[in-house]
């Protein structure tokens, strides 16, 4: 099954993400996912200040500055992994370096609209 690992950060934490230590930890984690053969894809996201939100209402495009909702925590990165079940997904989520600071939301992917890898859904 494929799962998304959604990493949420408090606003102030976004500044700390460029610390050498955080970068090294993030890279090592990505390499571990790859070495285990479970990584489908993923990326870190720039901070909420850089976000622009688009919607279409009554045929008119509306563009707003900022993220979809004002919250205490913002989506900071996503990873998609392909593992046998939720327990394995939770193990990987717990190893994410950000798990020690914030929390990682684990969600199964809903089937087929977007292709996430060449691998078949198990």
């Amino acid at each position: 099954m494929k799962y998304a690992l959604l990493v949420h950060h408090p606003k102030e934490y976004f500044e700390k993400r460029n610390d050498a230590e955080a970068i090294a930890a993030g890279r090592a984690y990505g390499e571990a996912l790859q070495a285990a053969g479970v990584l489908v894809g993923g990326a870190g996201l720039e901070g909420p200040l850089t976000a622009t939100t688009v919607s279409v209402r009554d045929g008119k495009r509306q563009v707003h500055d900022g993220p979809y909702a004002e919250t205490k925590e913002y989506l900071a990165g996503i990873g998609i992994i392909d593992v046998p079940d939720l327990d394995v997904a939770l193990e990987w989520a717990a190893r994410h370096p950000a798990a020690a600071v914030t929390s990682i939301e684990v969600r199964p992917l809903l089937g087929g609209h977007f292709s996430t890898s060449a691998k078949k859904d198990s």
Binding site: M1, P84, L86, D87, A89
Partner: protein
């Protein structure tokens, strides 16, 4: 055999097979709701055919066979079941092999219990989910026992089953270190079902009473599924000791009788002996836990049936151990009372005073214990107030009457 007796016999076979079949099917498909749907038709069919044809030699294989055929019929009409069809077909083949080779039908209820106790499942849904999937207790009855509306309970159960399927929660028995945590969830859930039934035993007849029986049935099953887990035996022993006293807990007129005033001749010897057996076995495992200690405390109370005495010093020792492992308000209050009963009311009262007051504001046993200890210390006026407060904190009318009675009839010391 009369028809109703036949029906009852069949219902008990069906009941016994229910959890095993749900577990067996769901472990293969990951779909608890689908397993329950497929089986409900098979059970209806069993109730129609078995009274005349007799109970088949391998009831589980029969039920699975019917579930499979019915589901294939309905799958054509209901697309949602199509995904389940393949699982059922494979399961039915597997069951047929088991039937021919006379192998035991695999019992995967333990896996199902662990799925229900998975940390990804809403805590409030775990106990109801176990009762419904493993024992087949219906949602309406669970709802009434847990004081929520049947609709809300139904939704909670559906959500939990959807999550099991959609999130891909695995049907596995976890290994250490997860084992300990998950086992303790399973044990706590069973105990919570028991206390939910027990607390309201006096209120409204059969549904609650049945829930204590379901909990004990589940405790027995757990011991059967993991015979070397001492805490499972401890929990079963604890429930059996409490259950043994059911008759003696109220007089025929419905008046509440506190434990040390109960007529020990009304206690069930058979249940007490069964409890003792499990406790003895558990002690050979050399791994003490919360439920074994609580059961051991009840065991000393039970000893009064033989010796006529209560060894409060021994009870105090056990509470000391319990407070170390599980420092709940309940165990702290129990220890304070044991101190007083063992002869040191002043220390017992000091121990009560040490419990943070904000945590006991609405905890009835604390105020009853406080009343009792103040009475022992000769502080009658304060004792009266504590008993009154305890009385106003219980929703059990018989217990309320008992506490008011103690408040009013305090002998001046």
């Amino acid at each position: 055999m009369s028809e109703s007796a036949a029906h009852a016999a069949i219902e008990s076979v069906v009941r016994g097979s229910y959890g095993r079949l749900v577990a067996y099917l769901a472990a293969r498909s990951g779909d608890v709701a689908g397993a329950q749907d497929a089986l409900s038709e098979a059970f209806v069919s069993a109730l129609q055919h078995w009274p005349s044809d007799g109970v088949p030699e391998k009831p589980e294989a029969w039920l699975l066979h019917v579930a499979r055929n019915r589901t294939i019929d309905t799958a054509r009409r209901r697309q949602v079941k199509q995904a389940f069809e393949e699982t059922l077909r494979l399961a039915a083949e597997e069951a047929q092999r088991a039937e021919v080779s006379r192998e035991e039908f695999p019992d995967e209820r333990l896996k199902l219990l662990f799925v229900c106790a998975h940390p990804a499942i809403d805590v409030a849904a775990r106990t109801p989910l176990m009762l419904q999937t493993v024992l087949g207790v219906d949602a309406a009855r669970i709802a009434s026992a847990f004081l929520v509306s049947p609709t809300a309970m139904g939704q909670r159960l559906v959500r939990a089953k959807n999550k099991i399927r959609a999130a891909g929660i695995p049907f596995t028995v976890p290994e250490p270190p997860e084992w300990d945590e998950r086992v303790s969830f399973v044990l706590d859930a069973i105990y919570s079902a028991y206390t939910t039934g027990w607390d309201s035993l006096n209120e409204s007849g059969t549904t609650h009473q049945a829930l204590t029986e379901e909990a004990i049935a589940m405790g027995r099953m757990l011991v059967q599924l993991m015979p070397t887990e001492p805490e499972a035996r401890g929990l079963l022993a604890l429930m059996l000791h409490c259950e043994a006293r059911r008759e003696a807990r109220f007089t025929n007129e419905g008046v509440f009788v506190p434990l040390d005033e109960q007529d020990a001749r009304r206690w069930s010897r058979a249940m007490m002996e069964e409890a003792e057996q499990h406790l003895r076995y558990a002690s050979t495992c050399k791994r003490v836990g919360r439920y074994q200690l609580e059961a051991a405390i009840q065991s000393i109370h039970a000893d009064r049936a033989v010796s006529g005495l209560i060894d409060w010093k021994e009870i105090l020792l056990l509470y000391e151990g319990l407070v170390k492992i599980a420092p709940t308000i309940g165990s702290q209050v129990g220890r304070a009372v044991a101190m007083a009963q063992a002869g040191d009311a002043a220390s017992g009262f000091a121990a009560l005073e040490a419990v943070p007051r904000e945590r006991v504001a609405d905890y009835q046993p604390y105020w009853a214990a406080r009343g009792h200890l103040l009475h022992l210390l000769g502080r009658t006026g304060e004792a009266r107030k504590a008993f009154t407060r305890a009385a106003s904190l219980t929703d059990d009318p018989a217990l309320r009457a008992h506490l008011f009675n103690r408040s009013e009839h305090l002998p001046s010391t």
